[in-house]
């Protein structure tokens, strides 16, 4: 089962390159304490999923690179080739000779339609090389200009061309104090368009990653490369192969087969109104500290619950809502407690079978109309990830993005109400009605999540 990655814009191409590097490195790396058989099928599965085996020994990433400028793409191509362990296919990138201004509407209304055929042909070619197409992963930033607009358009084209394939959009949530004045407009436009075309949006917030780099990894001068590597590590911990809990023994596991991306979406985003996914990954440690650390599962999982709190500005999962008997208006509940719709926990490494997961199945964590058996899924594999003896990733469909989303929509609305900077959009074809539609969509999303 294979996934085709579409890297969009500067952000998408940089992260995409780091992602493939991380996957390749993990696949070739030490496999901890799992059996050779297990490791072999893990490697085969990873290779099949993200890379295409070609006659020359080095596997080629199943990726399409799109950008308006040639600089970032050529960097990515050369860095991959020089690694010696993987590369990009020679004819799977699309770029223009010069950039085209930092303008969302320009990307969506002008460049998108103009280059649609060329881009979709690259995608088709990659899709046809897959024996079984699991779906598409697009990587892009939300608040960027041309890249984001183009990215929204390309996602729509993907949906039209592949109506039954899965589409997972990985989006980078901008810094709260970003520099681009129209980033809120761009975010609103991108989010609402993606919400219509894709199956799920997996969000990484720049602020959060920055905090991880500073506090957990102790990096003094945080560069984009550091941020991208953390993101790639987190994505890798989700996309690398793992098993369903039905397998109780190792021999079962190897025959059980590794899961498809469809299963990820099935567990988390069946409901069309709730598509926002967040990702937490533990532990995050500087590489130098790794050899000196040992981890215990209860400690790690407790840390995950608490770490979640840190990333959500003080919301603590240990806070329990009042008893079921008393009636609490939904809005109050949202303020004090992060309600989840669904959670997916992925455990990797030593002793995964003996982990006690009861704390994640507490019904008070979840919304009332879904019981924990439906809402919580756990995947496990004894195969260690990226040199961590034990690691866990939590993909969560919950209210965690409610506040940031509300804040962005609020700011964008204020600007819209005073018609600030609208001419930049209207001159390329995004009219006020389109803006209104986007606001409506996002208000609906906010309302759905608030009323959990």
């Amino acid at each position: 089962m294979s996934i085709v990655t579409v890297q969009l814009g500067q952000c998408g191409n940089q992260i995409g390159h780091e992602l493939f590097s991380a996957l390749c490195r993990d696949s070739r790396g030490t496999h901890g304490l799992c059996s050779n058989n297990e490791n072999q099928s893990y490697q085969d599965s990873c290779k099949e999923r993200f890379f295409c085996e070609e006659e020359s020994a080095v596997p080629a990433a199943r990726a399409v690179l799109v950008d308006m400028e040639p600089k970032v793409i050529s960097q990515a191509l050369s860095m991959a080739a020089s690694s010696g362990h993987w590369r990009y296919s020679s004819h799977s990138h699309f770029c223009q000779k010069q950039g085209s201004g930092n303008n969302w509407a320009n990307g969506y209304c002008v460049h998108g339609p103009r280059h649609k055929e060329a881009i979709m042909e690259l995608v088709q070619r990659e899709a046809e090389r897959c024996d079984r197409l699991g779906g598409f992963l697009t990587i892009m930033s939300m608040a960027g200009g041309t890249g984001s607009g183009l990215g929204a358009f390309v996602t729509q084209c993907l949906r039209d061309a592949f109506p039954t394939s899965f589409i997972l959009n990985h989006v980078i949530w901008p810094y709260g104090t970003g520099e681009v004045i129209v980033q809120n407009y761009n975010s609103v436009l991108t989010l609402s368009h993606l919400y219509h075309s894709s199956d799920a949006l997996l969000v990484h917030e720049n602020d959060v990653i920055h905090k991880i780099c500073a506090q957990l990894l102790n990096i003094k001068q945080i560069s984009f490369r550091d941020v991208n590597q953390v993101i790639a590590h987190q994505l890798g911990s989700v996309f690398q192969p793992a098993h369903l809990p039905c397998a109780v023994s190792l021999s079962d596991m190897s025959s059980c087969g590794f899961l498809l991306s469809g299963d990820l979406l099935e567990s988390l985003v069946p409901h069309p109104e709730f598509r926002m996914l967040g990702l937490r990954n533990i532990p995050q440690m500087a590489e130098s500290s790794l050899p000196y650390s040992t981890f215990s599962w209860p400690g790690l999982l407790r840390q995950m619950l608490i770490a979640n709190a840190q990333m959500e500005e003080g919301i603590d999962w240990q806070v329990r809502p009042p008893q079921a008997g008393s009636c609490i208006p939904c809005t109050n509940k949202a303020l004090h407690f992060n309600t989840s719709i669904a959670n997916l926990l992925i455990l990797r490494g030593k002793d995964v079978h003996s982990v006690e997961l009861g704390s994640f199945q507490d019904p008070s964590l979840y919304t009332s109309w879904l019981n924990p058996q439906d809402a919580f899924t756990a995947w496990k594999t004894p195969r260690a990830f990226n040199k961590y003896e034990k690691s866990a990733a939590l993909v969560s469909n919950s209210q965690f993005l409610l506040k940031p989303l509300d804040s962005i929509v609020g700011k964008a609305w204020n600007m819209f109400a005073s018609k600030a900077y609208l001419h930049q959009y209207t001159k390329f074809g995004i009219q006020e009605e389109d803006f209104l539609d986007c606001f409506t969509t996002l208000e609906q999303v906010i309302s759905s999540y608030t009323n959990l």
Binding site: T164, F166, L260, G262, E266, P270, P272, E273
Partner: protein
């Protein structure tokens, strides 16, 4: 014949004796024990049936085997009139009918009855059959088990010897109801399986009469080539669910968001299935194109999945051979049944007439009418059916037109395989899809109108339709 082959003649005398069977046909019994679902039933008045077609033929070969049920136990009580069908004996015992009546009526039906009579004790005033040694419940249990095994196989399930009788009874009742058999007496039978062989006989006959069930059983046990795909362009008339008040009270209320969740899961799973199906097609195409020109059968021209696999793992040929042999045996048994079938229906008709006193319901009457029709329609069984595409098709790659694949239908009874072109099937399915889309849009429009109507009644609310 009696002198020549006494073992066989016991068939003519109608002694269902499993142990004797094992002596004469041990191989078959092994198979019967492992595949009881394929028991050769209804040997019935085999002699009369066979002889009917060959009136005057001197040596009518007796039926080869008995419809032996998997059971432990010694020889059954002797009965002259029931060559192997303990159920029928039991039915007659239950009905209290005169022993000679049923086969007598059937025997009188054809001149070939004489041949059958040859081996039997002469004279219609034959001694009454001895009471079966085993009590009636035993036969009921066995009959339940027979139906259970048959229906389980048809439904593609598996069964074990240790399945509880209660579960068997429930399953049989469910399966019969599912296939449209609605006779209430069957549902009222007790779950311990102790009574009901008469009802079961009726149900069993109904099953035999049901179109396609036996064929399904055969298809289930067929050796797979791996190249099959299912085609269905039928207009399935989903019955309109009545728009009634909501079914559940406050306790049973379900949040609509949960239903949306479930619907979404279903859709995503369907997408996964679609992707897997596409992969299978892709790989099948690879096998077909890589092996084209290699097959001995010019019509096909390429290997099937099973054949390609055999090339790679030649040590599996033994297993394949076994499967083929068992399939052949089953088909032979089916052919035999087909020849004997009219006799069975004759007997059933006669039996029904006797049981008229018991006031059989209209179902039995219908069964009789339809069996009479069936008897009359026997010669026309091979009439070609309307071309409505339904069932399994084998995919065959035609290299002359690389763009199209031809599918050949595989049916047991038809001589010439009906070939379908994939392009035609696709066209039909697209038409069907278009009409379903139109229907969906209509329904959505209706819902939208209803929602607008409701929203108009609400104050201060703006309704934005999806």
């Amino acid at each position: 014949m009696m002198q020549r082959d006494p073992g066989r003649c016991r068939d003519m005398q109608g002694i269902a004796d499993t142990s004797r069977e094992m002596q004469t046909h041990p191989g078959r019994c092994r198979e019967l024990q492992t595949h009881p679902g394929r028991c050769r039933h209804i040997q019935g008045d085999a002699g009369s049936c066979r002889a009917r077609g060959r009136a005057g033929a001197p040596a009518v070969p007796p039926p080869r085997g008995q419809g032996a049920l998997p059971r432990a136990g010694g020889p059954e009580g002797r009965s002259r009139w029931s060559p192997g069908r303990r159920e029928r004996r039991d039915a007659r015992a239950a009905a209290g009918a005169a022993p000679g009546a049923a086969p007598g009526a059937a025997a009188a039906a054809g001149p070939g009855a004489v041949c059958r009579r040859r081996g039997a004790v002469p004279g219609p005033a034959a001694p009454r059959p001895a009471r079966p040694r085993h009590p009636a419940p035993r036969q009921s249990l066995d009959f339940w088990k027979l139906l259970y095994v048959l229906l389980k196989q048809i439904h593609g399930g598996s069964w074990t010897e240790s399945d509880a009788i209660g579960a068997q009874v429930r399953f049989v009742q469910w399966a019969l109801w599912y296939h449209g058999y609605r006779r209430p007496q069957l549902r009222r039978l007790p779950a311990d399986g102790s009574v009901g062989s008469r009802e079961l006989l009726l149900a069993f006959s109904w099953l035999l009469h049901c179109p396609g069930l036996l064929q399904r059983l055969l298809a289930h046990n067929r050796v797979q080539t791996g190249d099959h795909t299912s085609v269905c362009t039928c207009e399935d008339d989903v019955p309109e669910r009545q728009e009634g008040p909501g079914e559940a009270g406050p306790e049973g209320r379900v949040d609509v968001r949960y239903l949306q969740w479930l619907h979404g899961r279903l859709r995503l799973q369907w997408c996964s299935l679609h992707a897997q199906h596409q992969e299978q097609c892709r790989l099948l195409h690879k096998i077909h194109s890589f092996t084209s020109g290699s097959h001995m059968d010019q019509n096909l021209g390429h290997f099937s999945v099973t054949e390609a696999d055999l090339i790679r793992h030649p040590e599996n040929y033994k297993q394949l051979l076994q499967l083929l042999e068992s399939e052949t045996t089953q088909l032979e048994a089916f052919l035999e049944w087909k020849q004997l079938e009219p006799v069975y229906w004759q007997w059933m008709v006669a039996a029904r007439e006797e049981l008229q006193k018991e006031r059989f319901s209209a179902t039995a009457r219908k069964a009789q009418e339809s069996t009479e029709l069936k008897l009359r329609g026997l010669p026309s069984l091979c009439a070609p059916q309307k071309t409505r595409m339904h069932g399994l098709c084998r995919l065959v790659l035609r290299s002359k037109q690389p763009a199209s694949k031809v599918a050949s239908g595989q049916c047991v009874s038809k001589e010439a395989a009906a070939a379908l072109r994939a392009a035609e099937v696709i066209r039909e399915l697209q038409l069907r899809e278009a009409s379903l889309q139109r229907e969906l849009q209509q329904l959505q429009q209706q819902c939208r109108t209803r929602l607008d109507g409701i929203a108009e009644g609400l104050e201060g609310v703006i309704c934005i339709s999806p």
